[in-house]
């Protein structure tokens, strides 16, 4: 449904961005020439197993403008050969926090009805004779929820794993979350199994509280904390009475509580459920475990949002709002026919709500709306 003319304009906008940001991308990727690159072009075709030389990078980018651009977390001897022949030499340790994988977030959506070339928004129970489609919307609230997970992740990396803050590279993913790249030498050689242990340490996957060996083990001490603070989520899993009993044990000491749970099958399995569901960091584990994973290129543009995968300093994290801070620096504005856009803070101010009207918006917002089928007819402002 995306019109060719709009796509061409977006492609040009991307090309121009890449022309100006080539060096920034090169300097953000450690060991650039031992990475595999991959991209989705503006016809939606995925191309893989590409290796690039730094000095040819700009001309390559101008010729093959990526709509979505990825590099391998891995370092290879032969990045462009097929998987078996690449010769794996190591990989960054990466973590992906994405709203798709966050349980307590309900994505904001709008349902539209596409009937031949007419599009309308379906309120509650509207009739639709054509193709009904649910469209995901970005909102600040979602980013804040993702940020909570991100902060938990960083805390564990620093405190438990002793990874220095300067080795932790935090990025806004360009889409609906955050990426963390740990570039430390010592982690590069870890195989999938070791990464799985690290992932499980964060998510608490498969935990059985009865196997906890130390009351200071993180999942158990977080659980004790939740009990002490009377965390609201406790009631999602336990009855008042159960909470009361466990708190009594905990008041004696942590050991007592652990011993008690070891003997109580029902409460133990409820605790396991609570710990994985409410206390674990919600990362997309596959990304961490897979040692040949492709990950979005730092400072590339996200094809569905027009936003930059931008690096965030730890100190700025608190203030960081992707919808204003991850827009390219030389953003320009365009005129666009908008089917629907809720009120949203984007780049430099409030936009919308728009409903079947023409408006002047930042180009990235136009990309976002066009790629979702919520807008068309980009014109110079």
């Amino acid at each position: 449904m995306i019109r060719k003319r709009d796509l061409v304009l977006i492609e040009n906008y991307f090309r121009e961005y890449y022309f100006k940001n080539t060096d920034r991308i090169i300097s953000s990727i450690k060991d650039f020439e031992s990475r595999e690159f991959a991209y989705i072009d503006f016809d939606g075709v995925m191309r893989r197993h590409i290796s690039l030389k730094e000095d040819e990078f700009k001309s390559w980018l101008m010729e093959n403008v990526p709509r979505d651009f990825y590099h391998s977390a891995a370092y290879y001897l032969f990045p462009s050969k097929n998987m078996e022949a690449k010769s794996w030499e190591g990989a960054d340790l990466v973590f992906d926090i994405d709203l798709d994988h966050i349980r307590n977030y309900q994505t904001k959506t709008v349902v539209v009805c596409i009937d031949r070339d007419k599009i309308k928004i379906l309120e509650e129970e509207g009739e639709c004779n054509g193709d009904k489609r649910e469209i995901m919307l970005l909102e600040e609230k979602g980013f804040e929820i993702a940020k909570r997970e991100l902060l938990m992740l960083i805390e564990i990396l620093v405190r438990d794993f002793d990874i220095k803050e300067e080795d932790i590279n935090i990025y806004f993913s360009g889409g609906r979350g955050y990426h963390v790249h740990v570039l430390k030498e010592e982690y590069q050689k870890l195989d999938s199994y070791a990464r799985m242990e690290i992932k499980d340490y964060l998510t608490y996957d498969g935990i059985d509280i009865r196997n906890i060996k130390d009351v200071d083990a993180r999942p158990f001490s977080s659980f004790a904390n939740a009990l002490l603070k009377l965390d609201d989520d406790l009631r999602e899993v336990f009855t008042e009475k159960e909470i009361e009993i466990m708190r009594k044990k905990l008041e004696e000491n942590k050991e007592k509580l652990l011993m008690f749970l070891r003997k109580n099958k029902v409460l133990a399995s409820k605790s396991n459920l609570f710990i994985t569901k409410y206390l674990g960091v919600q990362i997309d584990g596959v990304v961490t475990v897979d040692v040949s994973r492709l990950i979005r290129v730092p400072y590339s543009l996200h094809g569905k949002t027009g936003l930059v995968k931008k690096k965030i300093n730890y100190e700025e994290l608190d203030q960081f709002n992707p919808l204003s801070d991850a827009v390219r620096e030389d953003e320009k504005k365009v005129r666009l026919k908008i089917l629907y856009c809720p009120e949203i803070y984007w780049y430099d101010g409030e936009y919308g709500p728009y409903r079947k009207e023409e408006a002047v918006v930042p180009f990235s917002l136009a990309v976002y709306l066009v790629m979702r089928g919520l807008g068309h007819g980009i014109r110079e402002h």
Partner: protein, 333 residues
Amino acid sequence: MYISEEIRWAAKYPFDSRSKELLELIAYDVSEYTEDDLRFLLDKAYERASKALDHKYRIIWDNDYQEVVTFYLALLIIRGVEEDYIYRVFSDTEARRAYDLLREEEDKNILSIANNLGFKVEVEKDGRFRLSYIEFIKVSRELSAIHWKLYNFKVEAGRVYLNKRNLARLCSQRIKEVIYEMIKNIPSVPEFILSYSNRLRKDKEKMLRKIERYDFSDMGEELFPPCIKWLMDRIGGGLSHPGRFTLVTFLHRIGYNTEDIINVFRRVPDFNERLTRYQVEHILGMKGSRIEYSVPSCKKIKSYGFCFPDENCRYIRHPLQYLIKLKKRERHD
């Protein structure tokens, strides 16, 4: 340190680098053990090797010197059997023996063993030990997956906190590998030792036959029920969780051990041993936590979508019944 203490040490931990040095000082040339007055040591070594294959060992003895020498002679006898499985069982038993001794050991001694095994361990004031969590992950993978998950332990500033027993267990894992390597690295075995090896091989014939039975070459995969065959055919393309679960529990039930099951998955082109081991142990390891997983019923398998019944599937409710049925038929034929 007095020489008697050194020998005591070697008697307890003959695989330790310190002990190996000592042995060069005190041992006779191997051939001399055939002399009448030393031959009894060879018999003792034989006994040690044979018992070890039945998972038996001792932690109390009265002559340190003999305890050291019999270990080294037993290594030779084991090597002469030329059977990887035997090497492994022997290493495993000897590592268990070391574990029992280490558990009771003084802090400074267990530290010395740990360091010689390549672990960089520190002791805390409260008697707990600290080990780099990365190193921990690298060894713990060989142990029961559910008990040795990193999250079961306290981790702080890049270190895992362990008590003496935990550390002894990690050491014994490494010790097993060290002893196995010691056996493998023996280039050749003298003639007179080989006679002991052959005797041992005869003695353990039953045990060796048992492993042969689990050998894939005559496992008769062609007799497996259709659902399992279907899964076996698709290992290469990756199995869904219920698929892997069904296959692993099935193979386990008919007598495959963890290694055997991992070998089945070895056929996959991008086989990842550690990942597979982890997944298999995860499924089988549940036993330790008292949740025993059994092979899913036909009804379950049907709901998973890989039940493709053939004529032998009639009147059965469980894939294992399929095998039983075929076996019965065989007897009647």
